[in-house]
């Protein structure tokens, strides 16, 4: 009886493990296949011209440099607004905020910001920045919109990085006559910096890939020249891919995959950078 019972359980376990392994394969293999497919299909389009030249023939030829530069500007703009504010907010939550209802409300607000659909951010950006504040369809409006969207990511990861720093450091610093801000500035923040940087990289990576928030706030499809000021509209990589794959007739497949490949390389690159920063920080840690 015992042997039968055991055998039955072993069989269940074997089946169960196989099922889960299968499910994992079914998830992982398409990812790998997709990446390879994009690389294979898109590589022929990649040339120095492609990433440095302007588009011609209604985007069907030439390069995509304005989209690349546009995404760069938008990412920079997002960073300028969201990084200082996000880090400061995280410092407040980690180092200053008492455990009371007001703090819970802040945390709830952050969770909510994180969950708002990207297209609703686009609506908000349109209503507030483009129309009400009269910035027009501009890099400024789009960056501000993306910043608010990126804020919760930066706040969460920064707070986590700050909390990982041992409390004993703070106690020692205070006992040596340090103020709370001195303690943060000289000890806590520097030690949390790698974690913060990782979070910023991942947050900005997400912002750079978003289309819906910039659809009505700053993105344009065809601009004759690069943007001159923050009040100009701009091309952007994700938006560019969207338009050329849905709205331009007879767009060469090669160009579409090439654009997708550029985006893919960007994402992989940022992920790798974040992993690298995380790994080096772990190795160099002094606690």
């Amino acid at each position: 009886m015992n042997k039968f019972f055991t055998k039955n359980r072993d069989l269940t376990q074997k089946l169960g493990f196989s099922l889960l392994t299968l499910m994992t394969l079914m998830t992982i293999l398409p990812i790998i296949a997709t990446v390879i497919y994009i690389i294979v299909q898109g590589a022929p389009a990649i040339s120095w011209t492609f990433i440095s030249d302007f588009p011609r023939e209604g985007m069907r030829e030439g390069g995509i440099i304005p989209a690349i530069i546009g995404t760069f500007y938008l990412t920079l703009g997002t960073a300028i607004f969201s990084v200082p504010l996000g880090i400061a907010a995280a410092i407040y939550l980690s180092e200053y905020a008492p455990e009371n209802k007001a703090t819970r409300l802040i945390r709830l607000a952050i969770i909510n910001l994180a969950g708002i659909p990207s297209v609703v951010y686009g609506l908000f950006g349109l209503g507030l920045f483009v129309l009400f504040l009269n910035f027009g369809t501009s890099i400024l409006a789009a960056s501000l919109t993306l910043s608010i969207m990126t804020l919760p990511v930066i706040i969460s990861t920064t707070e986590e990085a700050l909390r990982a720093v041992p409390q004993s450091f703070r106690t020692v610093s205070i006992s040596l006559g340090g103020t709370r801000w001195q303690t943060i500035r000289k000890t806590v923040l520097p030690q949390a910096l790698p974690g913060i940087i990782t979070g910023v990289i991942l947050g900005l990576e997400r912002a750079a890939g978003e289309t819906a928030p910039i659809l009505f706030t700053g993105a344009a499809f065809f601009l004759p020249r690069l943007p001159h000021s923050p009040f100009d509209a701009t091309m952007a990589l994700p938006y560019h891919l969207f338009v050329i794959s849905t709205q331009v007739p007879e767009m060469p497949i090669k160009i579409q995959y090439g654009t997708a490949l550029v985006l893919l390389v960007f994402v992989i690159g940022m992920n790798a950078l974040a992993t690298f920063v995380r790994g080096r920080a772990r190795a160099k840690r002094q606690w």
């Binding site: 610093s173 040596l176 006559g177 000890t187």
Partner: protein
């Protein structure tokens, strides 16, 4: 002997209702080692943390009474706590080195104080390491990370770190509790030198350490001061029964 610190009727209550200190009256003489001993929960650490106002960070519900340092009440709301903490240094039970070099640990307090003169840094580093009996072991590798030191060395570094600020009082909360006997005796020897310049208040981790190091000793039980006497008397001839019970190891 003049009193460096006078504690008058100190009562402390934490916000979870526990009463930590109850009407403490205690004199701490200058240039001597005063030992606060007793079983856990007696309030000894709470007193230390009142002396450098580190209790401000804890969940303290109520504090009444006075603590006079050189005649000034440091529990007063107008007290400059930052300056107080430089005057009253603290060494914790577990050695907590900051994530910097040895030198960086020592100069940290001076940087906080806004000391700009580089010459003062070098001088403070050497002086404090020598007083903490650590100079010989680390003087040639001051830029190494402090975390690389052994436990006993780290604790002496923490001691040196407090000394670098030239305090007037040193608070030590079970400073040798994790250390081996050799490191322990090194720390205790350093204290003998230190009390010549400073006032030392020590919470020992054993009655034996209390007996070894104290000029004066105060026995605490459940937040009350039971007995206070010179070290030569209290361990050999305690006056209160509870004190004798504890010293003889009948409880604790």
């Amino acid at each position: 002997m003049k009193n460096k610190i006078v504690i008058e009727n100190l009562t402390l209550q934490y916000s979870d209702g526990t009463e930590s200190l109850n009407g403490i009256n205690l004199d701490i003489p200058a240039n001597a080692t005063t030992v606060l001993f007793g079983p856990a929960g007696g309030g000894k650490s709470s007193i230390l943390r009142c002396l450098n106002r580190l209790n401000d960070l804890a969940d303290v519900e109520k504090v009444t009474g006075k603590i006079l340092l050189d005649g000034e009440n440091i529990l007063d709301l107008k007290t400059d706590v930052i300056a107080l903490r430089r005057k009253v240094g603290m060494v914790f039970a577990r050695p907590v080195v900051l994530p910097f070099s040895i030198r960086g640990n020592l100069t940290y307090g001076l940087e906080l104080a806004g000391e700009k003169r580089k010459s003062r840094y070098a001088e403070a580093v050497e002086r404090s390491l020598k007083l903490a009996a650590l100079w010989d072991e680390v003087h040639d590798r001051l830029d190494d990370p402090a975390i690389a030191l052994s436990g006993g060395q780290q604790q002496r570094l923490c001691l040196a770190r407090s000394i670098a600020l030239e305090p007037e009082v040193l608070l030590l909360d079970e400073p040798t509790s994790g250390l081996d006997p050799i490191s322990t005796s090194k720390v205790e020897d350093a204290l003998i030198e230190l009390k010549k310049q400073y006032t030392v208040i020590l919470v020992p981790h054993s009655v034996q350490q209390a007996a070894r190091t104290s000029d004066y000793a105060a026995f605490f039980l459940e937040g009350k001061l039971i007995e206070y006497a010179p070290g030569t008397e209290i361990f050999t001839n305690p006056k209160k029964q509870r004190t004798e019970d504890y010293v003889m190891g009948r409880f604790g």
